[in-house]
């Protein structure tokens, strides 16, 4: 749930509030790519998808434009899109979970129908779609992150408290034969969006990388330019592949300030600013999409591997993207605090309540309501 509660507007529409995005080669089939969008973090048993939202997966072939300190991506002009939409649930008949049906419009114009919570999902010629409530795969200790920001000292405990322990999300999982469905590659950029349906759909939120809007962007106090500005709604409304030059500097300055704060937490500078006055990661992180190499075999820990390899001028050895079970907070804090030049930073939370499995739909079944569990 790395992006949960990521802007004031998202609070009013929980079913449109994207918490996480994942992209990985299917562990159970090397020919298939899997993309996952989680919404509605901490959702109670009655949660359903909105009938007024288009849940969109955008995938673009991407090239490596530069390596070394100026490492960057060049997304292609071409793009493929999977759109998922949902009906109003039928009468629950007293059941806690209403029965909801949905449809996924594939890039080649087919419609895959499915019933929410059906673990087999809908299947049509190489595309399998699941939607429903599952166990939250993300794990972190929010209080200690906040304490770190307030005190300026890494505040994680050896044994932390998982803020999301036992909670549920709504997930959409799409598994497809990438060679049939995608053109170009094998490197692809993935972004998920929620849009208000209508003649001209309006973007509500977008997520690519984990912990950009929350851990990396939300703290305002280090930003000497826009100290009182909540920029996340603005950021959400932008096209991930085409940030407007008008606001780019606002995001750049905020990330520079916050990344410099994290870098200083161990008392040394591991990320000296470049000649343009930018943190070396700012530009890469503002390319806010997951980059996954669909031709490589599945790997348990692979987030940011493509980017790190680019910076180091070597070929990547894992598919990049992001797998469900990866300990993102440890990775992000280690990256930001010491860039791998020091001991790994451990936030004291090393697992969710239940690990995701390596078979479709991957995410663990939903947890019982807290009262029921007790």
């Amino acid at each position: 749930m790395s992006d949960h509660f990521s802007g004031p507007r998202a609070l009013t529409d929980p079913a449109a509030d994207i918490s996480d995005v994942f992209a990985f080669p299917a562990p159970d089939d090397a020919q298939q790519l899997v993309v996952v969008m989680d919404v509605f973090g901490k959702s109670g048993p009655s949660a359903v998808f909105s009938d007024a939202v288009i849940y969109r997966f955008r995938i673009k072939p991407v090239d490596i434009a530069a390596t070394g300190p100026e490492a960057s991506f060049a997304p292609s002009e071409s793009e493929i899109v999977f759109d998922c939409v949902f009906d109003v649930p039928r009468d629950t008949g007293g059941a806690v979970r209403p029965v909801q049906h949905g449809r996924c419009l594939t890039p080649d114009g087919r419609t895959v129908s499915f019933r929410a919570d059906d673990e087999n999902g809908g299947v049509d010629d190489g595309v399998q779609v699941f939607a429903g409530q599952r166990s939250e795969p993300f794990f972190l200790d929010v209080r200690m992150i906040e304490k770190t920001a307030v005190t300026g000292k890494l505040s994680f405990k050896p044994k932390g408290s998982d803020t999301l322990y036992g909670t549920n999300i709504l997930a959409i999982v799409i598994k497809f034969d990438w060679r049939k469905m995608l053109k170009g590659g094998p490197l692809f950029a993935v972004v998920c969006e929620t849009l208000a349906a209508g003649k001209r759909p309006v973007r509500i939120e977008r997520v690519g990388r984990p912990e950009i809007k929350n851990v990396s962007m939300s703290f305002k106090m280090f930003d000497q330019v826009n100290r009182d500005l909540e920029i996340r709604d603005l950021y959400n409304s932008e096209d991930a592949f085409d940030l407007k030059p008008d606001y780019f500097d606002t995001y750049r300055v905020r990330l520079n300030a916050n990344l410099a704060f994290y870098d200083g937490l161990d008392g040394k500078v591991d990320w000296p600013f470049d000649g343009h006055g930018n943190h070396p990661l700012t530009k890469l992180l503002l390319a806010d999409f997951l980059v996954v190499d669909a031709s490589m075999p599945f790997a348990e820990t692979s987030y940011f591997d493509v980017e790190r390899s680019m910076r180091e001028g070597r070929p990547h050895t894992t598919p990049g993207g992001r797998w469900l079970n990866e300990d993102i907070m440890d990775f992000v804090f280690t990256l930001y605090v010491n860039g791998g030049n020091g001991p790994p930073v451990n936030d004291g939370v090393d697992a969710p309540i239940a690990w995701s499995s390596k078979t479709f739909p991957y995410l663990a079944p939903r947890n019982p309501p807290k009262g029921a569990a007790a």
Binding site: F5, R9, L11, T12, D13, P14, A15, A16, F40, G41, K42, S43, G44, P45, S46, A47, V48, F49, S50, D51, A52, V53, V88, P89, P98, V142, R143, T163, T167, N168, A196, A197, G198, K199, V202, I204, D228, P369, K370, G371
Partner: protein, 358 residues
């Protein structure tokens, strides 16, 4: 006179609102509340309090307000320097019309976080509820840049509606609908309801009906909109439709307003036995509520006792209290009505049956 149904139709033609179905929105509101149970950080407790207040507003559930107030008190007790906790408690105080206590809490927020624009907006809303319209407007104007277009339009629509400036209120209301960019149906339904209440007070029942129907289309379970629509339908000569709306509400709700309306309409139809049952139920419940939340139910209790409750003295007592709490034009009107009802030889306007024994 503006034909509101045409105006709304035009709005829809210009930019149809794409909103989550009301039944989904309600399921998800429930899911949000359930999901936050037992997992709360301070910010999440404040969110939970807001969600409970929202559900209270939509379903007309007093128990939700009470739970929100309990949580807010507990939160302040646990974090005496937390501005968000005082802010949340100010909201719950305001819900129960304990405006002085709400303003005290906002003073504390000001001391802890002097630049908190949300606290200023909350203060403006409370000043408005107290009938201090000029202060409300100037407080609100000072932070107007910090709010979104919809919220600004909705707040100003409410302010002008309270002042009785209906055309201006309607203009802001339509501005709000035009600029709404969310997908939740709740803010839109609440705004339409607010406009409906304004027209109802102006005795423009056709317009009121249009607004309440619009709100109910957004959120069919919106209890106060159903209840007010029933009241309007009865006054427009369609008591059967009104009864059909009120029966389920009167049975399920812990707010006696629906039972009181039901008793009134049944009484006017001459069904006195059944009217008496509902009247008794409403009277008992008003007694309970005014014992625990005196200020909050002073206005509705006064209306009840001056009307179908048929106890003008009690009505006068609550109308007087209501004016002490909020010096609004409506509170003054209610007191004037109570004084009339207590004048020698007066009979209450809508009384049916004998006075209830104490």
């Amino acid at each position: 006179m503006t034909d509101l149904s045409e105006t709304f139709a035009l709005e829809r033609e210009l930019r149809p609102l794409s909103l989550t179905d009301g039944s989904i929105a309600l399921l998800n509101l429930q899911a949000q509340i359930d999901g936050l149970k037992g997992h709360c950080t301070s910010v999440e407790t404040a969110t939970l309090i807001d969600l409970l207040i929202l559900r209270g507003l939509i379903l007309g559930r007093i128990s939700d307000y009470e739970r929100a107030a309990q949580l807010a008190n507990r939160q302040v007790g646990a974090a005496t320097m937390d501005a968000a906790a005082y802010m949340a408690r100010a909201r719950t105080h305001a819900v129960f019309h304990r405006f002085a206590e709400a303003l005290n809490d906002l003073d504390r927020v000001d001391r802890i976080a002097p630049h908190d624009a949300a606290a200023k907006r909350e203060r403006a809303a409370i000043l408005q509820a107290q009938g201090r319209f000029d202060e409300a407007l100037s407080t609100y104007s000072a932070v107007i840049d910090s709010v979104g277009q919809f919220e600004r339009a909705a707040a100003l629509a409410g302010l002008w509606a309270e002042r009785g400036e209906v055309d201006r209120a309607q203009r802001f209301c339509l501005d709000g609908l035009r600029c709404y960019r969310g997908i939740s149906p709740f803010p839109v339904a609440l705004l339409e309801f607010q406009l409906g209440v304004m027209w109802m007070r102006e005795a423009r029942l056709g317009e009121a009906r249009t607004c309440f129907e619009a709100a109910i289309r957004r959120v069919p379970a919106y209890a106060p909109a159903q209840g007010h629509l029933a009241e309007v339908e009865a006054d427009l000569g369609n008591p059967q439709s009104a009864l059909a709306r009120l029966y389920p509400l009167a049975v399920s709700s812990d707010d006696p307003d629906y039972a009181a309306q039901l008793a009134r309409i049944l009484g006017e139809m001459g069904w006195n036995d059944e009217s008496s049952i509902w009247r008794r139920w409403a009277a008992d419940r008003y007694d309970e509520l005014t014992a625990t939340h005196r200020e909050a139910f002073a206005d509705h209790a006064a209306e009840f006792w001056l009307g179908v409750g048929n106890d003008p003295k009690k009505g006068l007592c609550f109308a007087t209290l209501n004016l002490e709490v909020r010096k609004t034009p409506r509170a003054r009107e209610l007191l004037a009505q109570a004084l009339d009802a207590n004048a020698p030889g007066a009979t209450s306007a809508r009384c049916s049956g004998a006075a209830l024994p104490n």
